[in-house]
Amino acid sequence: MNLDYSQFFAMRMELLVLAVFLIVFLFDTFASDKGRKATTPLAIICFGLATVAGFFCCGDAVTAFNGMYETSPVISTVKCILNIGAFIVLLQAVNWVDSEDGAIRRGEFFELLFVTLFGMYLMISARHFLLFIIGLESASLPLAAMVAFNKNKYESHEAAVKYIFTAVFSSAIFMMGLSFVYALSGGSLYFSDIADMIATQPNSVMLITALSFVIAGFGFKLSLVPFHLWTADTYQGAPTSVTSYLSVISKGSAAFAFLVVLCQVFGSVYSDVWEWMMYALIILTITVGNLFAIRQRNMKRFMAFSSVSQAGYIMLGIIAANVLGMTSMIFYILVYIFSNLGVFGVIQAIENKTGLVSMDDYKGLHKTNPWLSFAMTLAVFSLAGIPPFAGFFSKILIFTSVTEHESTALYVLVLIALINTIISLYYYLLVVKAMWISPDEPVVPSFRSSCIERFALWICTLGIVLLGIISCVYGTIYCVSDQAAANGFFASLL
């Protein structure tokens, strides 16, 4: 079998990221110490261009490398969405990267980030478990280094330890699961081959174990309960930029990959096996995430648990396992990126200026920093699913997709999720309360955040306000999802 190099053209999204990585890497390696200051703008500009270019790279559905790699409009869309998120993360990270703490290794930060992004792309596009594992690991391992980035802070190290050990443990479990899958697969690690084999076999303990372990592996990345325990500690200890990256991009990509694996590999056992596994996990994830979030005072830790419960909502799109579910999930991820980054943008702005991350320090924030409070309020409302902000639409659309099934159980699931939105609303409102209502004198002094930070916040805020109202975003995603479905994305589902 000859390697046709034109196949690499199918991977142009990955290659773009890789190119950016190489540019930054080379510049960082060869530039003088003074010149390294330009690394940050360079990385941002390059990645910005790549992001824009990404929009023009969406081609038709193509497979490459004998079907190991697949790209399609929906996959490209997800990647574009991740690009946007990563771009915002980069913008928000600028101040921190250029500060004394990170300046010396700013190049590394960007490089690691691009590598993980590359890994995520692979993971999304992989249609063979080997490629998948490579993508998965290159997405998660460099993150450990990023988590440990704050060399002078103990928390950063502890976070990294917890992250890497859980990550390795999870990949061990995941691969264990894969090995069982392999045993059932008829000797191939191609998704389609495995799916065909599974469809012909009765449900066995081995299959269920394999599936459980695979789900557990994804559960780590998505921080589904009970595989989420690392999340809070890591989020809290990691540098905030990394936390935001972990919470949105990493989670978003894993969610889509999860959908792909569950539908394309295990599609035939949807209704009798993993629907119920996911059912239990979703309830647990949403509820436990919420229950833990209630009493958090550290904003980052708070956001960690919030993102745990958000992951549960994202999973609703998977359990729906239909076009609407896929669309709504991607849309949810998009909105979630904007909302979460909105919150993290404010957290970072304040942390960079004052080093304060406790919710108690946010008391009376509106007196000193009304715009930050405002942006935070909008973002938090969006996370809570309050109209007219985008979060409302993403939530209701994902619920709509789940209820398409005439199944009482899924209605109950939606009801539980809905009731949980009340708990989540409670703790999101706690932030609002601290900023607007608390009568205490403000702790955070009045300051003007840097242009880039404000720019990033504006993007997030605009996204939050407009994404729901401008329905064409959802429409576009629906188109590509529908196309994917037409191409047999859900074909093996029973």
Binding site: F129, L130, I133, I134, E137, L141, A144, A145, A148, K151, Y154, E155, H157, E158, A159, A160, V161, K162, I164, F165, A167, V168, F169, S171, A172, I173, M175, M176, L178, S179, F180, Y182, A183, G186, G187, S188, L189, A232, D233, Q236, G237, R301
Partner: protein, 103 residues
């Protein structure tokens, strides 16, 4: 499933279990890392066994194992680096000591 395969599979599973057990019980981070290696190796073994016994004509399992070994190495390197960081920070690699972030 033939008996021969089971003979190989059981040790591999035991290895995996040992890894889990070691992870949970050992107090030294390095020991824990070793336990993790045990688990990863058990996985590799699994792949090899399945490939050898179930699909003797194919090589995917073998290749997977190769990659897996590489990944395990990378993971270990990273983990060691982080452990060193921790050691620098607290002069200790006792896992019970690094529970500052909780609840």
């Amino acid at each position: 499933m033939n008996l021969d395969m089971l003979m190989y599979l059981i040790p591999s599973l035991i290895m995996f279990a040992c890894g889990v057990f070691g992870f949970i019980t050992r107090r030294n981070l390095i020991a824990i890392l070793i336990s993790l290696e045990l688990m990863l190796n058990a996985v590799d073994l699994n792949f090899v066994i399945f490939n050898r016994f179930l699909f003797p004509g194919e090589l995917e399992g073998m290749f997977f194992t190769l990659f897996s070994i590489g990944i395990a190495a990378a993971e270990t390197a990273l983990a060691i680096a982080i452990i060193i960081n921790i050691f620098r920070a607290v002069k200790n690699v006792d896992v019970k000591e690094i529970t500052k972030l909780k609840f």
